[in-house]
């Protein structure tokens, strides 16, 4: 896989805002990219993109669902006062990163704005010290109130300015790498599968609303009822201020999840494959929840054996997220290998135990 191709792909995927609940812009991009890579494209009722590839095994074939959420965090206009915009969050946004951020307000027209923090004398006493809470910040479009009200209304999504930067030969910095980096890996995986046979049916899912309700993946899983699911998301890379024991170095490999959310036999399979392919990885202990779409997927309908693989990402949920291109490639390769190597009777192999015969 050429890194050039990856850069272009990643830039395309990080360009659309696609905030949770308003994923149309990224969904169209995903559909355009996946069209040549799948047999059938559709949308689930909550907007997730579903790409279906038929397997080569004998019918009835089991099916694998691979999920990467396409939505991104951002803000939303919650009020307009004297031409200034009040803001609320979509997904988890640390208000401390907001003062000075350049944003786009997606109203009847898309207008640029900057998020600003008022001077203390314009704030009530409880908001003067420490970091100013989101409900006291403003977005300033630079326009007069009349103009503002002409183009903007309550409920308009507000995204961080796009700013895709390559740092050195391997690292990319951009908003929305959570989770477009994973979407990139999933797309690369589909590209690789074009040249490979796979016995199982495969559903690639770009899910919606992960950052708010995990709803896009959960409802897609109910619709598809897969036999297995693999979730690709991002995890915390080590960096300034982050504890070493809870983070993973950038560019040194991906993580394989382990814990109640993950089926232990799936972990074993992924581990063996990674070792075989010489893909560096670490076990990511998830003692309770994974913090990904897997948390809802696992308990859909009669239960779905689930796996979580993650790409280390630094400065998560800020506009300056960073990932390693090598790590994206590693994730893509491991996914493709897993999908291609699934034997038609794999489900028997991951049974928890033999039950005694009557």
């Amino acid at each position: 896989m050429k890194t050039n191709n990856l850069s272009i792909l990643l830039k395309r995927l990080t360009s659309p805002p696609g905030l949770s609940g308003y994923e149309e812009s990224i969904a169209r991009e995903v559909e355009a990219l996946w069209k040549p890579l799948v047999d059938h494209l559709s949308r689930n009722r909550l907007g997730s993109v579903l790409g279906f590839r038929a397997g080569s095994g004998e019918s009835p074939r089991p099916c694998l669902m691979m999920v990467a959420h396409q939505d991104a965090i951002g803000l939303m206009v919650s009020g307009i006062k004297e031409g200034f915009l009040r803001l609320t969050e979509i997904g988890g946004v640390d208000q401390r990163i907001l003062p000075g951020q350049l944003v786009q307000v997606h109203g009847k027209r898309t207008l640029p704005a900057v998020v600003v923090q008022p001077p203390p004398f314009l704030l009530p006493p409880e908001a003067q010290e420490g970091s100013v809470p989101l409900s006291y910040l403003w977005a300033d479009t630079g326009l007069e109130e009349k103009e503002v009200r002409r183009w903007i209304q309550i409920g308009d999504p507000v995204s961080f300015n796009r700013n895709y930067v390559e740092l050195g030969s391997d690292v990319v910095c951009s908003p929305s790498l959570d989770n477009r980096a994973s979407l990139c890996a999933l797309t690369l995986c589909l590209q690789e599968l074009q040249a490979r046979k796979h016995a199982w049916d495969i559903w690639a899912v770009a899910s919606t609303q992960e950052e708010e309700t995990l709803g896009g993946a959960a409802t897609s899983a109910f619709q598809v009822q897969p036999d297995l699911a693999v979730v690709i998301d991002v995890t915390h890379a080590s960096g300034p201020g982050s504890p070493a024991h809870k983070t993973y170095p950038l560019g040194k490999g991906i993580t394989l999840g382990w814990g109640p959310t993950v089926h232990p036999k799936l972990y074993e399979v992924f581990k063996e494959l990674a070792e075989k392919l010489e893909i560096p990885f670490k076990m990511e202990a998830m003692p309770r929840y994974s913090g990904t779409d897997a948390d809802r997927l696992q308990t859909i309908a009669e239960g779905i054996p689930t796996m979580v693989i993650s790409i280390p990402l630094r400065y998560m949920h800020t506009p300056v997220e960073m990932v390693s291109k090598k790590d994206i490639q590693r994730a893509a390769r491991l996914l493709a290998e897993f999908a291609a190597s699934l034997e038609i009777d794999f489900m028997v192999k991951i049974q928890w135990d033999e039950t005694p015969k009557p």
């Binding site: 308003y22 149309e24 896009g216």
Partner: protein
């Protein structure tokens, strides 16, 4: 509509124990629908059939917040926990009415070191008993706030506006509508206040194509109140988001266009806390596009909640109009 609302709000029916209000609703709507059933959690599901039409689930919750007794002490005072979001600040000095008719007063322990509002654990209900033996209530008994309906003219006040006003809107719409563009499922749900539980199972059973909840929303128009734009008297609110859900943009568009076409005043609502039954519908099965028609309400979850009758009437109008045209569920721009 004031009479309808008055009757509804005064019935005691806390989460999990909604049968009294359900019986009243059933009596009113039975002649107006084709089919009615009560499901395993107690939801009342009423159907107006229509073939070749998308299935719309409308839901308003029957339950109100309440209290359950956990212990009666030797002197006859009862300790309690909340059923739903009962705020301590609204309990101090309040009156309650149990489902068995007993009435009581909420008292508070004194706190010598702080003047902050104490938590519910430091409160108790006094029904005027002198011992555990002669106390007419016991562990497990449930109660609601005891405040009657007050007509202030343009505005009305009562406990349980949340969500009896939604129930009233649904009933009124049922009474006035003759035809609609949908197969209609009117659901009067249970246990919304403890986690949208009724709607969760009702949605699974109904399998709608589209879902709309009718519930109250808070307002930002009281002194140093919530920091939000919705105001009493400015029309029903079209929910954009709350803490539980992002309303489907196609549903929002449908609601906005309908309101503008019918010249009904409306507000765009963002609520930074709380959730509604619509969330349960949205996440049901393979997903359902969902939204909320909100009725602005001051002092939500207090014993005296206030709504504006014009907002209520406009909500009914908007709902009736919405039922005339199905939304375009093609992808948005």
């Amino acid at each position: 509509m004031k009479e309808l609302l008055k009757t509804l709000v005064e019935i005691p029916a806390p989460s999990g124990y909604e049968s009294q209000v359900r019986n009243q609703i059933r009596e009113w709507i039975e002649p107006l629908v084709d089919e009615m059933r009560v499901d395993s959690l107690g939801n009342l599901v009423a159907v107006r059939k229509q073939t070749d039409a998308p299935r719309l689930m409308l839901v308003a919750h029957m339950d109100e917040i309440g209290l359950m007794v956990t212990h009666v002490d030797q002197q006859g005072f009862a300790r309690f926990v909340a059923l739903g979001g009962v705020m301590p600040i609204h309990c101090v000095g309040g009156r309650v009415r149990f489902l068995n008719g007993v009435q009581g007063v909420i008292g508070v322990e004194k706190n010598p070191t702080s003047s902050e509002i104490p938590p519910l654990e430091k409160m108790f209900i006094d029904v005027g008993a002198s011992s555990a033996e002669d106390c007419p209530i016991r562990i497990g008994d449930v109660a609601v706030f005891d405040r009657s309906f007050v007509d202030l003219g343009k505005r009305v006040v009562s406990k349980a506006m949340d969500d009896r006003v939604g129930v009233a809107v649904l009933i009124e719409a049922l009474r006035r509508i003759e035809k609609s563009a949908f197969e209609m499922y009117y659901v009067f749900s249970v246990q919304e206040e403890v986690g949208v539980r009724g709607a969760t199972v009702a949605a699974f059973g109904v399998e709608p194509d589209l879902g709309l909840a009718i519930d109250v929303t808070a307002t930002g128009d009281t002194p140093k109140g919530h920091r939000m734009e919705v105001r009493l008297g400015k029309g029903p609110a079209i929910k954009i988001r709350d803490a539980g859900m992002l309303a489907d943009p196609r549903v929002i568009q449908w609601m906005v266009q309908t309101a503008e076409r019918a010249r009904i005043p409306y507000q765009r609502e963002i609520l930074e806390f709380g959730g509604t039954d619509a969330r349960a519908i949205q996440l049901s099965r393979s997903g359902v596009p969902a939204g909320v028609l909100s009725i602005p309400c001051r002092y939500v979850h207090a014993p005296s909640e206030m709504v504006d009758m014009e907002d209520v009437e406009n909500a009914v109008k908007l709902l009736i109009n919405l039922l005339q045209t199905a939304p375009n569920l093609e992808r948005p721009k």
